[in-house]
């Protein structure tokens, strides 16, 4: 697997390069701004792009806009957007097109080496990864507070993990229950929230949950 990294901090570019090397991902190019990123994608056509949201020259949301541009021009490039602050609004914009092979994580997550590499693999495999912080923001401000209050504590936990883009296996491992129990929780959540029955296509499940929380 080959990746292109865009981050304006040299220190982090080097760090992420080392980290990806650890996970067996080759880094084709590491660049410092959005224009160079688009050029590098055009040149290397990598499997994955890891993009910082805030980059020169404006230090605003250049990375996010570059990610949306990449999705439009090269839909088969997986995108993992990193940011020092996660905003549910940015996540919504990023996922508004297609949620396949998209990830949005707090930059701090790279310190948890194994989890980060797992997230990279998931995105590259076509999955969706949403930072728990974004899910927390969505849960906090969702207008659908009433149906959510019908969920049990455990079901809310499972809902959050689903929204992060995790598979049933990953959820089961994360909260230390059996696969069967997770499946039961998921079915119960979908029933309580009046969502269409669980789809094994994981990224569609994420979208359904996110759309629900965002509506």
């Amino acid at each position: 697997m080959r990746a292109v990294i865009a981050d304006d901090s040299v220190l982090l570019r080097e760090g992420i390069t080392r980290l990806l090397g650890e996970g067996g991902v080759a880094v084709s190019a590491a660049v410092g701004d959005a224009a160079a990123l688009l050029a590098a994608i055009a040149e290397h056509r990598p499997d994955l792009a890891i993009i910082d949201v805030r980059m020169p020259p404006g230090h605003r949301d250049e990375g996010l806009r570059a990610a949306i541009e990449i999705r439009r021009r090269w839909p088969d490039v997986a995108l993992l957007v990193l940011s020092q602050f996660v905003e549910e609004r940015y996540a919504t914009e990023l996922l508004s097109g297609e949620s396949r092979s998209v990830g949005y994580l707090l930059k701090d997550r790279i310190a948890d080496v194994d989890e980060f590499i797992e997230a990279v693999q998931r995105v590259a495999d076509g999955g969706t990864v949403i930072d728990p912080e974004v899910v927390r923001q969505l849960l906090a401000r969702t207008h659908q507070a009433d149906p959510l209050s019908r969920l049990t504590r455990r079901e809310r936990e499972v809902l959050s993990l689903m929204a992060e883009g995790r598979s049933n296996t990953s959820i089961a491992r994360s909260i230390s229950v059996s696969m069967g129990a997770v499946e039961k929780h998921v079915a119960s959540i979908f029933a309580k929230l009046d969502l269409a029955p669980d789809d094994e296509q994981r990224q569609r499940r994420v979208m359904a949950v996110l759309r629900y929380l965002n509506s």
């Binding site: 901090s9 220190l11 982090l12 760090g15 790279i110 310190a111």
Partner: protein, 489 residues
């Protein structure tokens, strides 16, 4: 007799005189009427200084001179005095200037009205109209000052330092009290016309009296008027001559009265009005408040940027190195060890960055030990040699103290980054009423208050404390940045 004529014609100032009284004919040799009024002479001050001493206290020589003066001589000198000439000439000047200025003002007002609905252009034209009439007003104030009437200029808009063109136009546009200036120009033309008409009629009557006294045997044509023929007897001739003389003698007083009428209009409309002053003060204060908010906002953004760009990546990278080390610990202890070493030096570097950052946000020593102590630490880290001289009668309050500190910090940063100077000096002085900060360097100059620049932010901060920040930095240097901040008494 001479004494009486003198007092009747010259010495009796009307009650509540606005104009400085005519100079004593005894002093007339050294008084040319115009030059005697020094610029900026307040009329009250002028009147007080030129008040006549009681005749008893007159020096002997002067008294002797006065008694020798003949009525005709006094009359000629009075009528021909510089002051009267100036007053007479003013009628003409005011009429000419009035015609020109009124025409200009009328055109400008017409343009203002017709463009008022065009966004942007309307503001521009209105601002330019006010600027033009403010210039005209300064000409008229100068004219009236030559006549002995000092009128203070009203407060003109003071756009904040580094304001854009549009902000400057808007600050003129908001100065509603300045519309008295175009109003003056429109009112002054008919006024000047009326005054000139009175003056001309007066002299016209004097001339007619003289012509009639001459007893022309054939009709005399005077600018279209037919006079005569008349044959006055001796008594009538005497009466006519006396009337003409009285008319001429009264001219100085009349001329002064006309000038007073002119000055009255000027004083009413060209000077500062209370509403105008208050409005100017309110506008200045709200600008200062906006600047204070703006500079606080800019400061917050700068801190966020410093933390985001400087500190956060370091900490994330440190955590990443430790994370990598942990995952290697079992399979590759040597690799893990080198990563831990790396993380260790990164942690130390981060601590240093954090220390600098915190000092940049607010140096604690400033609160605890004051400007001198804080500045020593500041210039110690500067690669350019900077001398510091702090002379304060008393410690300024924290807001002024920290503003002074940041002015120096920003100026010294600029010296280091842009000036290529070899030495710089910081001089802070305060007498309890004003805090003065002066930073000079021997660099290549070219520093400017640019919108969004660090210096401009500081100028805003200084302005929010009613102070001023000036930057003189010609290309080639040297650069001189001075902040003057008033302190509460």
């Amino acid at each position: 007799m001479g004494r009486t004529a003198e007092s009747a014609l010259v010495l009796a100032p009307p009650p509540g005189v606005l104009l400085a009284p005519e100079p004593d004919p005894r002093q007339m040799r050294n008084v040319d009427g115009v030059g005697s009024a020094s610029p900026g002479d307040g009329m009250h001050g002028g009147a007080a200084r030129r008040a006549f001493p009681a005749p008893a206290s007159l020096p002997r020589r002067a008294r002797a001179l006065g008694t020798r003066a003949r009525p005709i001589g006094v009359l000629v000198r009075t009528v021909a005095s510089g002051r009267t000439w100036i007053a007479t000439a003013n009628l003409l000047v005011s009429l000419t200037a009035g015609a020109l200025f009124a025409a200009g003002t009328a055109i400008a007002l017409f343009l203002s009205l017709t463009t008022a609905w065009i966004l942007g252009l309307g503001v521009l034209v209105r601002a330019q109209t006010l600027r033009m009439t403010a210039w005209m007003a300064s000409v008229d104030r100068w004219r009236l000052r030559r006549l002995g009437f000092t009128i203070d200029a009203p407060a003109l808009p003071q756009p904040p330092p580094g304001a854009s063109l549009r902000q400057r136009q808007l600050s003129w546009g908001r100065a509603g009290w300045l519309w008295r200036l175009p109003a003056y120009q429109l009112i002054r033309l008919p006024l000047a016309g009326a005054l000139a008409f009175v003056a001309m009629s007066w002299w016209w009557l004097v001339i007619i009296c003289l012509v009639l006294a001459a007893g022309p045997t054939r009709p005399v044509s005077l600018i279209g008027w037919q006079i005569g023929p008349v044959s006055p007897d001796a008594g009538q001739v005497l009466l006519l001559v006396l009337a003409a003389l009285a008319g001429a003698a009264a001219w100085p007083a009349l001329a002064r009265a006309l000038v007073r009428a002119d000055a009255f209009a000027g004083r009413a409309l060209l000077g500062p009005s209370r509403t105008g002053e208050l409005a100017a003060e309110v506008s200045r204060l709200s600008e200062a408040r906006a600047l204070a908010v703006q500079s606080a906002e800019a400061e917050r953004r700068r801190i966020e940027r410093d933390l985001h760009d400087g500190l956060q990546p370091r900490l994330v990278s440190l955590a990443l190195d430790l994370g990598l080390a942990r995952s290697r610990l079992d399979r590759d202890p040597a690799g893990a060890r080198s990563m831990v070493e790396r993380a260790h030096s990164e942690a130390k570097q981060t601590a240093e960055d954090l220390r600098n950052l915190v000092r940049g946000i607010h140096p604690a020593v400033l609160d605890e030990r004051g400007l001198d102590a804080a500045l020593s630490a500041l210039v110690a880290s500067c690669p350019v040699r900077v001398s510091v001289d702090v002379r304060l009668a008393s410690r300024p309050d924290p807001a002024r103290e920290s503003t002074a500190y940041y002015v120096v910090a920003e100026a010294v940063t600029n010296v280091t980054k842009h000036s290529s100077a070899s030495t710089a000096s910081v001089c802070i002085s305060g007498d309890g009423r004003t805090l003065r900060v002066l930073v000079e360097d021997d660099g290549r100059g070219g520093a400017r208050l640019e919108p969004g620049g660090g210096l401009t932010g500081l100028a805003a901060r200084v302005a929010s404390l009613d102070g001023t920040l000036t930057c003189t930095s010609p290309p080639g240097g040297p650069t001189r940045i001075e902040a003057v901040i008033p302190c509460a008494p």
